[in-house]
Symmetry: C2
Subunit: 312 residues, 2 copies
């Protein structure tokens, strides 16, 4: 039985797993992230811990995949640019292959998470899926015919930077009206706090101040407070607009929602499905698109990194 190592580089920790071909975790571990040139050494330490934990040897691995934030040239195995990690043109694949002695594949962390959910999570059994991650920003990853789609030089699928309101809210990318500017967890938090400020009779003030309220607050109070409901309805409306765009462009079988906001489960996915059913081009009869929350949580990236090897 082949074993696959998946490594997910985060800002604070590098998380890793070894899985078998059915996706069963046989070893799991993490190490603090070392930014800069030392990243490969820190990943090597984690890899050794994982192999040790699984009671196996490197030669028993089919390979190791790595999901890494930033602009990743997956074809050439390089971290082109990763601001938070202080890396530029860093040949991570080659460095790790030399250290570990197994085939290594690298990809952007959001793309890896999409592949992880597609192969082992909510997208299992589908060939065509999109993962939308609602966190600090809005990330996206696309799987077509079972393979990760990354765009030319892996620079595509910046789905959060699709404008859905021309001339609208300012986005970190420099554009105005991006999907991310309306649908990130951060945008939801900002909208929640603003709604509280505008309506100090809102029930949300019972438990929260406008400093500790966040995106969850509106969902928590949506059934008992009209201001909270208005925030959630508007958020869902913009989110459905972006999902319908993605559905019309990629027409996947399933759109999966990940990131912090996905903790809302069917309170999120059920209304989104209803809105998408209305908005999608030519209706749902011929090629329906499901909306579901992702299931792998913060392990999606590590699963997906392992899937880079399963898939190659």
């Amino acid at each position: 039985m082949a074993l696959y190592m998946g490594l997910d580089v985060g800002g604070t920790f590098v998380k890793g797993i070894i899985i078998d071909e059915k996706g069963k975790i046989v070893s799991e571990n993490s190490v603090p992230t070392v930014a800069g040139e030392g990243l490969a050494d820190c990943i090597e330490t984690l890899a050794e811990n994982l192999v040790h934990g699984a009671g196996t040897v490197f030669s028993a691995l089919a390979g190791a995949g790595v999901g890494c934030p930033g602009l990743i040239d997956s074809e050439n195995g390089k971290v082109v640019f990763a601001g938070n990690l202080g890396l530029k043109n860093y040949p991570l694949q080659k460095l790790l292959e030399d250290k570990l002695g197994v085939p290594v594949r690298i990809s952007n962390d959001a793309n890896a998470a999409a592949l992880g959910e597609a192969k082992f999570g909510a997208g299992k059994g589908y060939t065509d899926s999109v993962l939308i991650t609602l966190g600090t920003g809005v990330g996206g990853g696309v799987v077509i015919g079972g393979k990760l789609f990354e765009g030319y030089k892996s620079a595509g699928t910046e789905i959060g930077h699709m404008v859905i309101e021309h001339g609208g809210a300012k986005c970190t990318c420099g554009r105005r009206g991006c999907f991310e500017a309306y649908c990130s967890a951060r945008a939801l938090t900002v909208a929640t706090r603003r709604a509280m400020e505008e309506d100090t009779s809102s029930a949300m003030w019972k438990t929260y101040t406008n400093e500790n309220a966040d995106g969850r607050t509106s969902f928590e109070y949506m059934e008992s407070d009209v201001a909270a409901k208005r925030v959630v309805d508007k958020y869902l409306n913009y989110l459905a607009c972006g999902l319908a765009n993605i559905a019309n462009i990629f027409r996947p079988q399933i759109i999966m929602i990940g990131g912090g906001v996905a903790a809302q489960g069917t309170r999120l996915s059920a209304p989104l499905q209803r809105l998408l059913d209305k908005e999608i081009f030519a209706g749902m009869d011929y090629a329906p698109v499901k909306v579901e929350c992702a299931t792998l949580g913060n392990r999606a990236g590590a699963f997906g990194a392992a899937a880079l090897i399963v898939n190659s």
Copy 2:
């Protein structure tokens, strides 16, 4: 030398070519379109004319490709639905294979045009390209790694029905604010006529009435008339917004503009390139995206239909 037949089904005519593998046309012909069940017979007649015109025989063909309007299930070779042709679940591929005795592939006409431009037109030499067609509507076709991308059950790449202005202008698809509602040739015509009505001192009135003015009128007068320039600037601005979305999502090497509006040439493509350079995610240094007008005109569909065979 292998020969390839390409057939492009339009509302009025079916156009056909036979090309060699370098894309040189060795025979060209057309027949009036027969809607309904008789479509395969009418295509057979055209195919016979084409073979005759090339002085060859069917067995010398590597195959015949067909681009057809409507919802086409290219994997199963069926016209799922084509309103204008009065067809539903029409097994066009099988019917033609029986009649012609050569392998047949079918695809949506917009997708075929994208493949045609990619292989033999403005996209020649690139592996990743998108064709945006600005006609009555806004159509799109996407080529990834040299292959046509169509979405699950060929129902994707409805790029015209990507909302770029949430809650904006009503679109024929039922949504509000679609790319098509702002950037079709029809939308440009409507904006031109409205600008004339609002400013009867506009120089456009010298040659046109608000009944015979169309999208070309604003481009014609953009340098001599402020109302015309305003229409063109706004149109380009929305168009660039849609192109930047497509660039951020697919990150192709080139976006090609086809359809009637593309006759404006560099008056269209040069400002669009400048706007895209500003809007694209993370700039143009790493993975630049060119904007150029398509070059095959109304032969793009037939070339692309032939390319369905070259490519298969």
